[in-house]
Symmetry: C2
DNA sequence: CAGCTAACGGGACGGCTATCCCGTTAGCTG
DNA sequence: CAGCTAACGGGATAGCCGTCCCGTTAGCTG
């Protein structure tokens, strides 16, 4: 797709296009905070961004497209994983980072919108999956280090352990819609770690 | 609300109203399976149910309202929790029940629709929360029995343990959008149980 | 700095969705 | 079984959303 449009003519990645994209994504976030994903309309995003609505339709196609692009933008801003020296500290840092992210007004609504978009749009779903696959891989490193240090048994599935830490947080956020507090994060770490030490993450 | 409309005149719970509701909820499920929550329109539901679209708007108000009613209907059909004699068997039965439910064409799409509706509609969100609160409470009993039998340490938080079993399943379903297989369910049980035996579910 | 063209902007149009109004149906009540 | 009225049904209407067409702008290129 990308290849085809490139071969059709000269691409212009220059100032205006980038400026428009920045303005539109900024406006998208603002609209999400105010009206949520359900109330996100191409029209209002265009108006707030100060661009023609035709442009928004042409480049993003749908509200889900806007959110998807916002997601890939966030994916590029890779959050550096901590290295506190102990696996407990590292996992706690991970859980608290998730906790803060979903509770932050601006970022949290964007995350919720991503999940909402993914329920109706295949492209958004793929972007969401890729986003988390990348985050999980980044954090899996701390588990491997812990195994090398002897903190966790050999053969521990690093990806699964990282997933296990965040699963209860997202479960509360999306399914039971209970608040995601630091205490919840703490409990999640404690339980995942207990299971890991007992060897429950060895396939 | 309910009280007010009742006091205004005589309620007629009789045949026609109930018949209309059944037809509409049936049509809603069918439409959900075919087009998903995003493609659920009041108009088509009314047409498929063979009722006037004014009726659908008057009684349910929005697609989210339809799904919410569907959810309360499912909530009433309480699934009996198994009692296999061991906590491992009970939790496995629970996890497999969730696994089957989300993979079933008809029921699974309804669940997904419920979650999608909850992201945009407060009433749907409340109904979803109540639904799971009830299910979790029903299953918490098997944990208490296991504690009495000495299978799990005293003070184990039954509600949290039940939540911990389903959290990874829903995490995959909604967030990472990976398939929810029986093997995933098995792993989830194994890990939650390992943590519980280590006392990680004692507050 | 001048020409080319990718990308943007405005306005008009068609289709759909949600709402309103009022006539009709059918479940209660005596 | 006859009257009352809650609840349903159909049609008309207004507003919004998405698309299309074409003129305009501004970033590349030599």
């Amino acid at each position: 797709m990308e290849q085809l449009s490139r071969s059709a003519g000269t691409v212009r990645p220059g100032g205006r296009t980038a400026r428009v994209r920045a303005a539109v994504l900024e406006a998208t976030q603002d609209e999400l905070v105010e009206h949520g994903f359900h109330g996100l309309t191409m029209d209002q995003v265009a108006a707030r961004a100060g661009v023609g609505k035709t442009t928004v339709y042409r480049r993003w196609g749908s509200p889900a497209g806007l959110v998807t692009d916002l997601m890939t933008e966030l994916a590029d801003q890779s959050s550096p994983h901590a290295d506190t020296g102990s696996i407990e500290g590292d996992l706690r840092a991970n859980a608290l980072a998730v906790c803060e992210a979903v509770n932050d007004g601006r970022l949290g609504t964007t995350f919720q919108a991503m999940i909402a978009a993914a329920t109706s749009d295949r492209q958004a779903a793929n972007a969401l999956r890729d986003f988390y696959a990348r985050r999980i891989e980044e954090w899996a490193g701390v588990v491997d280090l812990a195994v090398q240090r002897g903190e966790l048994p050999k053969g521990t599935d690093a990806l699964e352990l990282i997933r296990a830490v965040s699963a209860p947080l997202y479960y509360r956020l999306v399914v039971t819609r209970e608040p995601v507090t630091p205490q919840v994060a703490e409990h999640s770490v404690r339980r995942a770690l207990a299971a890991a030490r007992a060897g429950a993450f060895i396939p």
